[in-house]
């Protein structure tokens, strides 16, 4: 449904996207994962015909984004990083306007507006001015705008950015429900986000593809290296040595230290493997455990793991 082949985009001397290729099958939800500045927005703007690539080609539903932009634009819904809203219009007025520029026939406009409002959870605020809505609702108006003409392809650039935790969960639910009916690409810089919503993930860094896999496979790949944070009262050097000797621990790192306690980062193959020994070691030495929690894997950790550095 979506195919990008060897896309490169240069801004002056800077290569924002380098030789990037991927495919998305019909009905799939693909996550573009990468830190800020990785080139996610740039890639999405190329796919949506906002700007052409410096080299390489891309097609959506069989139409080349460069040769047949109008055909491509008819088939996509796009939520840019900043939702493109007219604050002086009501939600309904805005969505009707979008219907008009997206070729929705006049007679089905109202039906489409109803459907989009229902999907995006906007039914209660239809008559309100877009400018008076909260950030979360504006983001939903952005999503409604993208799916109002029932496009085959949806491209959503960081759809949960700036939302509060509850809104993020709602938005993830909404995105998950879009797969199947639509072919979706979302971008994010949060690992958990794409794991929660996508069937497949393409990880990019500095414009280049680092990895491509299902979230489960990626998780398995990095799970061998779970990190725990432990705050322990005891002599730093000695504790570090003893902890390192526990079976299943791959490394212990001193993270921070105050007068009484020390925080260690323990690399292990899973908390269930080391828990018993950890407790008995601490007990034997009369050290006390103040806190034990899993350190969430950051995108940086994943990169390090995947690139094997």
């Amino acid at each position: 449904m979506i195919e990008a082949k060897n896309i490169t985009k240069r801004y002056g001397d800077k290569e924002a996207v380098k030789d990037l290729s991927f495919r998305v099958e019909r009905g799939e939800v693909l996550g573009l994962l990468g830190p800020n500045g990785a080139g996610k927005t740039t890639m999405m703007r190329i796919l949506t015909c906002y700007m052409p690539a410096s080299s390489g080609s891309a097609s959506i539903a069989g139409f080349d984004v460069f040769e047949q932009p109008l055909e491509v634009k008819k088939r996509i819904g796009y939520l840019p990083e900043i939702p493109p809203l007219y604050k002086e219009l009501t939600v309904e007025g805005y969505l009707k306007f979008v219907c008009g520029i997206k070729d929705v026939p006049a007679k089905s406009t109202l039906k489409q507006v109803d459907a989009a409002c229902a999907k995006a959870g906007l039914t209660d605020v239809r008559k309100r001015l877009v400018g008076n809505l909260s950030k979360g609702f504006r983001q939903r108006v952005g999503v409604a705008q993208a799916l109002i003409h029932e496009p085959e392809v949806l491209i959503l650039d960081e759809p949960t950015i700036g939302l509060d935790p509850r809104q993020i969960i709602e938005m993830r639910g909404l995105i998950k429900g879009l797969g199947g009916e639509h072919t979706v690409i979302i971008s994010s810089h949060i690992l958990q986000e794409v794991s929660a919503t996508c069937g497949r993930v393409v990880i990019i860094n500095e414009g280049q593809k680092v990895a491509e896999d299902t979230p489960a496979e990626l998780a398995r790949h990095v799970a061998g290296d779970q990190r725990m944070l432990a705050r322990i009262k005891g002599p730093a050097g000695k504790v570090q040595k003893k902890l390192g000797a526990i079976k299943g621990v791959n490394g212990v790192e001193l993270m921070e230290q105050d007068e009484k306690t020390v925080v260690f980062s323990i690399n292990c193959s899973g908390v269930e493997v080391i828990a018993d020994q950890l407790v008995s070691t601490l007990k034997a030495n009369k050290w006390s455990l103040y806190e034990l929690k899993p350190a969430s894997l950051s995108l940086e950790d994943v990169f390090l793991k995947l690139t094997g550095k």
Binding site: M51, K73, P80, E88, V98, K102, D103
Partner: protein, 236 residues
Amino acid sequence: MRKILLLAQRELASYFASPIAYILGAVFFLISSHFFYVILSRASDSSMRMVFSNIMVVLLFIAPLLTMKLFAEEKKIGTMELLRTSPLTSWQIVLGKYLAVMGVFLALLATTLVYVVILYWVGKPEFGILFSGYIGLFLVGSAWLAAGLYTSSLTENQIISAVLAFVLLLLLWVLNWVEGLVGGWLGRVISEISILAHYSGFEKGIVDTAHVAYFLLFTFLFLFLSARHLEAERWS
């Protein structure tokens, strides 16, 4: 065509949602009222000519303020990204915006018709001069708004857009002064481009097709440049 009208309608809604259209409307009406008041109190044809040239000077200031937001604002708030990823052509976007600002301009101009009615009521103004005067204002306004639309497409800063438009209009207006400085055929060509040279006939009651063509060409040129600029911008 349906999309052009839709874009124009959206644009008009945004004009009337912000105070700028009302403020400019009020200022324009007050100043033009003053000029009409002067001829009403003196009642001569020569002063009638003055009304039109004075209104034109006011338009020189108002046109850049009317057009400054057209593209600049949408670039700033990110809605250009919606327009440019929707199945719209650059010409549709340009014409939609142009139609809207022309609508606002015509509404401004229409406010002065009050005085035309009064003029007919109190006396017998010469129809020819009134008619050509309005045609002239309409043509000059059309051309200036097209130029302002173009400068608005160059930047996302409304102030810069307005200043660029004002400087451009001023230069084009006074170009016929250059004739004396440059002289020869070049001077003549330059002064032919000047707005003033083409406008003065309309104040005297003459509607010359050559001058009409000049303003229409001027308008088309800037609309064309705007559409071209939208295309070219994708490449930068």
